[in-house]
């Protein structure tokens, strides 16, 4: 199968993720969409790695996973805190800071 198709898929996933970030209200979902974007990146990395025939891309993918995991830890912690104080995970509710 032509690896370019994986790139298309990666781009599609990335776009879906980005659209999710822009559209969804729930902070958790928004965050998951970011994760989706990261995974789209991973897919692109491994595809390119295969196209170029070197391992850099695959290794980067591992790094990305670790970073994503770290991000989850921090992100969930922050979202949880704000959920506990506001009883809502909607990003639109958190709009005291403006103008």
């Amino acid at each position: 199968m032509n690896p370019v198709n994986y790139l298309y898929l990666a781009a599609l996933l990335f776009t879906i993720g980005a659209a999710g970030v822009l559209i969804r209200r729930n902070a958790i979902v928004v965050f998951m969409c970011v994760e989706l974007m990261l995974n789209a990146c991973n897919l692109a990395f491994v595809t390119f790695a295969r196209m170029h025939g070197n391992l850099d891309g695959q290794i980067i993918a591992f790094f990305t996973m670790v970073v994503a995991a770290a991000e989850v830890v921090i992100g969930l912690a922050i979202i949880l805190t704000i959920f506990r104080s506001r009883h809502s995970a909607s990003v639109d509710d958190a709009s005291l800071l403006k103008l």
Binding site: M1, N2, P3, V4, L7, A10, F14, G17, A18, V21, A27, V30, F31, V34, M37, L38, A40, C41, A44, F45, T47, F48, A49, R50, M51, H52, G53, N54, D56, G57, I59, I60, F63, T64, V67, A70, E71, I74, G75, A77, I78, I79, T81, I82, R84, S85, R86, V91, A94, S95, L96, L97, K98, L99
Partner: protein, 554 residues
């Protein structure tokens, strides 16, 4: 592209591996001495975590503060030693298998970041501004971040005198990431460093003692938008990797320049696809512009600056900008110089809208922290004007500007922490009316910082602005200079407005008072003031320093 070709390569790879004895992967060569600043900071941070775990609570605060200060000072000493050892120019080279550059700009920026970090530690450790709660001194950070604001758990924590001493190791981790960020010599390191310094900052933002809802909101916004931007950056990295087949700066630069070391058929195919390069480059650029707070990626800045605890804001405003501009410079000057004609016009546009929008929107701000946030956006625009100069003079001017700007910023935010009323810091501008009559000294110091922001001669702000605009003009960006000058004029308006408020308006009876700080914050403000004046009156030594540090290693 032939569909079979990559498969064949992979196959041969597999077969080679199967047929021959396992290849010995050579152990990585790590120049520990040259990475010492980073290692010291991160090591100290780890020690800090252990301290948090094992030291009794009452000792933790002084111990952590001392530890962080010592660690940062040691790291700074290491930077100085490296620079003295010639790593800034003669011996500059990429270290750690090409992942991290040790060169002039990197050392200069690391030194700046470490100093800002050191000053930030001073403001972090300040415990005299708020009245003691239940007999225990309190600092700017939440007693227990996990407790619900206003809830029973929080009250208990306050009664118990808990403090979030973790901020010191977290700060150190952020500093560690920032040290690597401008030195990152491949895109992977860039991404990892970005995350390493961003994640601690997200956490720090959420830790304010007062107005915790705002603080948490700031953290959420910062986190979500930051994650979003790093995802876009990462995709850009992926595209660049796809284009060049490598993520090292020098490798990509070679491919962009049309002289890769080896040309595989796959590389030959992707090399021809400039769209990958341009889109990828733009997305990486976006990630960095987000961090420097350039328009239209700036919108997090005012919200986060306002919501975060003020010491954190000061640190963030100063150090993040330094690190991010360092990385931006390296990316544009090392990776994409071959694309100069593509990115320069775009960066012109970004610089212009950043200067203008930052200055214009600041005019109607009513909160001093937000005002400084928009001011920082305008200043990002000014620095971008130096970035697009594409000359060694441009690099050194940006380095100088960053050094000058970060100390003004730290000083200004440190002053903000002093002006307080019953609800904590009084950041509403209207409450600052007549401050100059009640506390002439504090108001005068803040006025000096504002004048430096406005770029009035004999302050560091003027020297920096002059350097940047001079480089831009010499680089043929005269229109940018004109716009910059106009934006400066608009910017001057709102700085002056604050001065008017402080000195020429009658104080309100219920107005805020100026808390008498401990020597910690006083030192921080004094350092800011001294640097501001010295860099304004006798900038030559520092210009030399920045000038010698103006060449990137590849």
């Amino acid at each position: 592209m032939s569909p079979a070709a990559p498969g064949a390569v992979v196959h041969s790879l597999w077969t080679t591996a199967a047929a021959e004895a396992p290849v010995k992967i050579p152990g990585p060569v790590i120049e520990y001495a040259e990475l010492a600043p980073v290692l010291i900071v991160l090591g100290t941070a780890l020690v800090g975590v252990l301290v948090e775990a094992f030291l009794p609570r009452r000792l933790r605060h002084p111990a952590q503060a001392l530890l962080a200060a010592v660690g940062l000072a040691a790291a700074f000493a290491a930077v100085v030693a490296l620079a003295a050892g010639g790593y800034a120019n003669g011996k500059a080279h990429p270290a750690a298998m090409g992942a991290v550059a040790v060169d002039g700009p990197a050392l200069f920026l690391q030194g700046t970041i470490l100093l800002t970090g050191l000053v930030a530690v001073l403001t972090f450790a300040e415990r005299r501004l708020d009245p003691a709660a239940h007999g225990r001194p309190v600092d700017s950070f939440a007693a227990q971040a996990a407790a619900v604001p206003g809830g029973e758990a929080e009250q208990k924590a306050v009664r118990a005198g808990l403090t979030t001493t973790e901020v010191f190791p977290v700060l150190l981790f952020a500093v560690g990431g920032m040290l690597v960020f401008p030195a990152a010599n491949d895109l992977l390191t860039l991404f990892v460093a970005l995350e390493v310094f961003s994640l601690p900052l997200y956490v720090l933002c959420a830790l304010a003692r007062r107005q915790r809802l705002l603080s948490q909101e700031a953290a959420v916004k910062y986190f979500l938008l930051g994650a979003f931007s790093s995802a876009i950056l990462l995709f850009g990295v992926a595209l660049l990797y796809g284009y060049a087949g490598t993520v090292t700066y020098s490798g990509i630069a070679d491919v962009v320049g049309g002289t890769p070391r080896t040309v595989t058929p796959a590389l030959a195919a992707t090399m021809g696809n400039d769209a990958l390069l341009l889109i990828g480059g733009a997305m990486v650029l976006m990630g960095l512009l987000f961090k420097v707070g350039a328009v239209p990626f700036h919108m997090w800045t005012p919200d986060v600056y306002q919501g975060a605890p003020t010491p954190v804001t000061g640190f963030m405003a100063a150090a993040t900008k330094v690190a991010a501009f360092g990385a931006l410079l390296r990316l544009l000057y090392v990776v994409l110089p071959g694309l100069r004609w593509d990115w320069r016009p775009v960066m012109w546009g970004v610089a212009i809208v950043t200067m203008l929008i930052g200055a214009v929107v600041a005019v109607t701000q009513t909160d001093v922290k937000r005002l400084l946030a928009y001011s920082s956006i305008a200043h990002a625009g000014f620095i971008l004007a130096g970035v697009v100069a594409t000359s060694p003079a441009g690099v050194s001017s940006v380095l100088f500007y960053l050094g000058a700007y970060s100390f003004v910023t730290l000083g200004a935010f440190a002053v903000v922490t002093l002006v307080r009323d019953a609800g904590g810091e009084a950041t509403q501008l209207s409450k600052w009316a007549g401050l100059g009559r009640r506390s002439p000294l504090v108001a005068a110091v803040f006025a000096v910082f504002l004048l430096a922001f406005a770029g009035i001669p004999l302050t560091s702000g003027f020297a920096g602005k002059f350097a940047v605009f001079k480089a831009a003009a010499q680089g043929g960006a005269a229109p940018l200079v004109i716009v910059g000058v106009l934006a400066s004029a608009i910017a001057a308006f709102f700085y002056i407005r604050v001065i008017v408020l402080m000195f020429f308006n009658e104080p309100r009876p219920e107005g805020p008072t100026v808390a008498v700080p401990s020597p910690l914050t006083s030192t921080a403000i004094a350092v800011g003031l001294v640097v501001t004046v010295v860099l304004g009156v006798a900038p030559q030594y520092f210009l030399d320093l920045a000038g010698h540090a103006g060449v990137f290693v590849r």
